[in-house]
Structure formats: structure tokens, C-alpha cells
Symmetry: C2
Subunit: 355 residues, 2 copies
């Protein structure tokens, strides 16, 4: 490996001069500059990024931390991030969190490795944030709310309500929810917020929330199991709201395997509107995934430029996309309505808030 010292020696100048030429900084006479450049080309010299980082304290790379980054929804977000970063001169370093303990590790270990951090669906805790701040590393959150740093989010509660309302309007009363367990990886997850919206919609419609219809499983793909559970119930639901398209699609597969027809036997609504959803004809709550990545990256880049974006709280809009997996319940299919209903559980019946 050729070093800067070698180049300096070869060109008959000092290391400082070579450094100046390479960084295009300060004043170097044209003759010297040319000579150095020639030697650089001749030797094929490439500055050592690590040494440079140590010296300057800047790594010229930004970290993107995400749980299971190969999940469709995360990928679509990344699709928004990548182009911006590519044009910004920053390297994209991906930190994939697949196990809860990796989460903390990552937030600690990024320090010194990146100049900025884009965190998708994951938030650093107080202590981690303090360290990051102390290290001068700006952090932007996507798909996770926070009160002291910039965020790009959607109103998951409203989204859950939207999905559930759609089912209610179709006439369903026996509606299940299929979500993620709140594991250490995610912390307060989108899934639980969407579940809240689901519960509110039911409340508002005066339909009781049945705990046995709220099913949680870890990892998106295992939603297949939820489908089985629901079908096996003494009084199975006529509709399901899945907290993500990944889960909805997994259920669709499982239901098909079980010989159930969608939407005839069961309506299914997802959340995200990933590309697959379109092909699968899934009714879902669409959120601008790619755009979320773009905006997150924009904010981070601004912060890296020294702009103050700490107040930024971008909220993107949601939209219900009705496709082929929802329909009114079959006559009589909804069965014994409200056997434990009395009145609405805990809420007044309010009209749905305009979106």
C-alpha cells in the first residue's frame, strides 16, 4: 500500500503538501500541484479512509439501522434513502438488527463509525441518545415518534382506525387483529399503535373488543399461525386486520392452504401497501414508504450540513386502498353477535375524525 509519505518522498515534497493537493485546500503552487498529482497517478495512490477518519473525526458515512432490513417495507424505505446518499458523498453503512441484543450493541457501536444515523422503526433510548449527542452524531427517526429529535412518521393509530372502519362499514362485527409481539427489538412498535387504532374504531362503533381476537406473533411471516388459530376458534372472525402487509400476505397463503376463500370466508386488510400487495390484490392502508426514506435522508443530510432540523416532525399521509381481499360478511356468517357486549366497553361513540 502506498502511503502519503511515499508520495511525498517520490515527489520531493513534504507530506503536508501532498495532503493539501489531495484535499484541494489552501495554496499550493501550480507546479508543485502538478508534480504531486503525477506521482499520485503513477503510484495509484488512494488515501486511507480509516486514517483520514481518525484524523479528521469524520467518517463520511452514515449509518442506517433497521430491523430485518430485507423486509419489503424496509426495503421500500431504503429505496428512498439510497439515491440521496449516493449523491451526497456519504457511504451507506447498514446495521441490520435481527435479535434484541443487537439493538443496544448497534447504537453503541455506531459511534465513531458514522457521521449520522438514520434509524428505521427503532429508537435509541435516553442513555443511547445522550451518547450519540455527545459524539455529535445527528439522528433521524423514520417510522418512530420522538420528542427531541427529527422524525418522519405516519399516524399509525389513524391507520388502524381506517382499516377497521372499512371492515365495519362493510358490515363486519367480528374483526380480529393480527400483529407483532412487542419484542425488545422494536420497542413500541407500529403494530401496537395500529392495534390501538383498531380498538378505537371498534369502540367508536360500539363493537366490543374481544381479547381472543387480538393475536400477536413475533416475526412477520409467522402470521400464518395466527390464521390457523383464528380459523380454529369456536366462533371465528369474519375479517382480520393485519398490522402489516407481510403478515396479511402470510395469512392469505395460510388461508388458501386451509381451503378458506378470501374475501368470501374471511376479509383481510393489511398495512403498508408494499409492492407485493398490489400483485396480491390486497386491501391495505397505504403509507408512502419510499418517500419516508427520502425525507429521512434529507433531514439527516441537512443536519450533517449543520442545519438545525431538530424541530422537524414530518407526518406523511395514509390512504385506504381497497382491492380484492375485503367484502361484506356472508349472510349469517357473522354469527352470534355481541354475546358479551352490554354497551361499548369504555369509550363514547364519537364520529370518526376527518383525515
Amino acid at each position: 500500500m502506498t502511503t502519503i509519505a511515499r508520495v511525498a518522498q517520490e515527489a520531493g515534497v513534504g507530506v503536508g503538501t501532498v495532503s493539501r493537493v489531495i484535499n484541494g485546500s489552501a495554496s499550493v503552487s501550480e507546479a508543485t500541484r502538478q508534480r504531486v498529482l503525477d506521482v499520485v497517478a503513477e503510484l495509484g495512490y488512494e488515501p486511507n479512509a480509516t486514517a483520514r477518519a481518525l484524523s479528521t473525526g469524520r467518517t463520511r458515512s452514515v449509518g442506517v439501522i433497521a430491523p430485518f432490513f430485507t423486509r419489503p417495507s424496509v426495503i421500500e424505505r431504503l429505496r428512498g434513502v439510497a439515491p440521496l446518499l449516493a449523491n451526497s458523498g456519504y457511504q451507506l453503512v447498514l446495521f441490520d438488527v435481527e435479535r434484541p441484543e443487537q439493538r443496544t450493541d448497534v447504537f453503541r457501536s455506531v459511534i465513531g463509525r458514522v457521521d449520522g444515523l438514520l434509524s428505521i422503526s427503532l429508537a435509541p433510548d435516553k442513555a443511547e441518545l445522550r451518547r450519540l449527542a455527545a459524539a455529535g452524531i445527528p439522528v433521524v427517526l423514520v417510522d418512530q415518534a420522538h420528542d427531541s429529535i427529527p422524525t418522519v412518521t405516519v399516524d399509525d393509530v389513524e391507520g388502524g382506525r381506517l382499516a377497521t372502519q372499512h371492515l365495519l362499514e362493510l358490515g363486519h362485527r367480528w374483526i380480529a387483529f393480527a400483529g407483532d409481539t412487542v419484542d425488545g427489538v422494536h420497542g413500541a412498535s407500529a403494530s401496537s399503535r395500529r392495534c390501538l387504532g383498531y380498538q378505537r374504531a371498534l369502540d367508536e362503533a360500539g363493537v366490543p373488543v374481544r381479547p381472543d381476537l387480538v393475536k400477536l406473533r413475533p416475526h412477520g411471516r409467522e402470521a400464518a399461525g395466527i390464521a390457523c388459530d383464528l380459523i380454529a376458534l369456536a366462533s371465528p372472525p369474519t375479517a382480520v386486520f393485519a398490522a402489516s402487509d407481510l403478515q396479511a400476505l402470510a395469512m392469505l397463503d395460510a388461508l388458501e392452504a386451509l381451503g378458506k376463500r378470501v374475501p368470501d370466508d374471511l376479509s383481510v386488510v393489511g398495512f403498508d401497501d408494499v409492492e407485493l400487495a398490489r400483485y396480491a390484490g390486497l386491501t391495505t392502508v397505504a403509507q408512502p414508504l419510499e418517500d419516508s426514506g427520502t425525507r429521512g435522508a434529507e433531514l439527516l443530510l441537512s443536519a450533517l450540513e449543520g442545519e438545525d432540523v431538530l424541530q422537524a416532525r414530518q407526518r406523511l399521509s395514509l390512504e385506504l386502498v381497497v382491492r380484492g381481499t375485503t367484502a361484506p360478511p356472508r349472510e349469517g356468517g357473522r354469527g352470534r353477535e355481541d354475546d358479551g357486549a352490554k354497551t361499548a366497553t369504555n369509550g363514547m361513540i364519537t364520529q370518526s375524525s376527518p383525515t
Copy 2:
């Protein structure tokens, strides 16, 4: 930021000792070790990865370089890579190549940033490879053949033949090919190899290769334009073999927009068998994408362990998956067969090779 010197001072020991404790190396008395560990915890000390890298010459990260990493096929490969890396203690640094000039940049700039390199669909040239080797960075290629470094590939030519044969067997004679232009980014691309297989299959069947039926466009998504072009032809084809599922799916969309029905008006075969293909019911040539990533990562990790894997040439198998986008051509739909045919262009008619 607390440094090792600070810890040493606080614990009343030398920096060397702190370093030894942290790296669990050599002999440190139990008492000292405890004291240091206490101070480390108290101060929340985290070693600076950059300084460590500079000092040891190892970065503990591996680079993955890919063109357009958010493309489905690349993602599915990454799905195989990520878990292995996560468990190996190496960071995953992603280098996204979206413009031709980035290609060279990346191969140069990875030096000093990563300990190993996994290159997807992209190969370093002679000079780049020499530099990499000089820097002691092992390189593994996925989806790209090479004679001096480990590779994981499929037989794209055979795959192209498989797809085309399927169409021929259905009775098609007027078969188009939709592929990538060979841009600087890709170099010798999978697309062109698949095209070769297409041509061979036609040759073997005694069907002339019509240059006007071979359409190339950059970027997968633009295949929509190819669909339009083909439809607009005086004598449009009855079938198309697209070099990738991405392109096939784009064509499907375009055809639908044009009011053409698949496979009634036109049969379409893709290549890759990405997840979407299943949902879209696309007939395609399946290759084990995720597995290719896993194997590539395995090879790289082995190389990083010091094993000699330079001879490894893994070749994964292909399989034609027939779904709903292919059917025999409509009667009379295939039109004026062979108006310029005479005899088979340049090849004897051989029987198809067993797969």
C-alpha cells in the same frame, strides 16, 4: 468522548493494560482486570472503532457491492447474506452502484474500508483486482463468472435456453427477447448471457433469430417501453422472453395498459423467480437467489478465516417454473411464419440438451 487514556488514568494503570483487558488478551491479574472493567463501565467507555482499525489494519466489516441494491433480485440475494454476516461479527457495508462511474470509484475506495468484498453482478477488472489483492482483501463474486477468484453463479445461457425452449414447445415461433443494454455498470451482464441462450434455442429449433425482436433497454423498469415497441411491430411476436422478472413484470403492466391479454395475446417468460413473480403468476426460470447470497457469504467468511477458497466455483441449478403467463399461441395469431426463414440460420437442429 472517553478515550483509553482516560480509563487508564482513572484506573491507575497504563493504557497497555486497559487495552489488554478490553481485548481479553494476555495475562492481566484478576484484581487489575476488575478495576479496569469497573472504570470502563462507570465511564461508559467504548473503544473507537476507527482508531482500532487503523492500528490493527482490520476493519471488521465486509463490503457488499451491488448495482441497484433495492432491486428485488438483489434483495433476495442479500437476504441470504445478512444473517451470516450478523452472526460473524462483521459489519455489513453496502456500496450501491447506480451509475457507471461509481463502479470504479467503489472498487478503489473500498480498500481500507473493508476486510472482504462480496460483489454481486459486478466484477472488478484486472487492475482493480490487483489492487484488492495487494491490499489483502479477499473478493467473492456472485452472479458473475471469473477465472481467478471464487464465484457463485448459475448457467445463464442454459437458463435462456430453458425459457425459450418452453415457448418453442408451446408452439411459438415468433419469440422476442427483452433485455438490458450492456451498460458500463454491468459489464458482461446476465442479460446478454441469457440472450445467448435464447439465440441458441432458436437456432437449435431451426427458428431464425430476428434482430428486430431482440430489444434492449437500460434499467429494468423501462421494459414497459419494449412492450409498446413489440406491440407496435408490423408483425408482433406471440411470445417474449424477458431477461429478468423485473422486466417481465414491467411488461405485464404495460401490456395490460395496452389492453393486451397475457397469455392469450402474448406469452411472457421471466427470469429469477423473485417473490413477486409468484404473486403475479409469472412463468419464469427460477434461480436460488437467497442461496446464492448465503454461499457467497460463506465463501467470503471462509476466505477471511484464512482458508484457501480461491478455487471455489459454485454453480447453482435452474428450474423452469410454469405459471400463468405462457400458453400456446392463438390459432392464426402467429401469422406469417418465417417470411425470411429459408432454413435454420446457422445451426444444425440438435435435440435439446438434457438438464
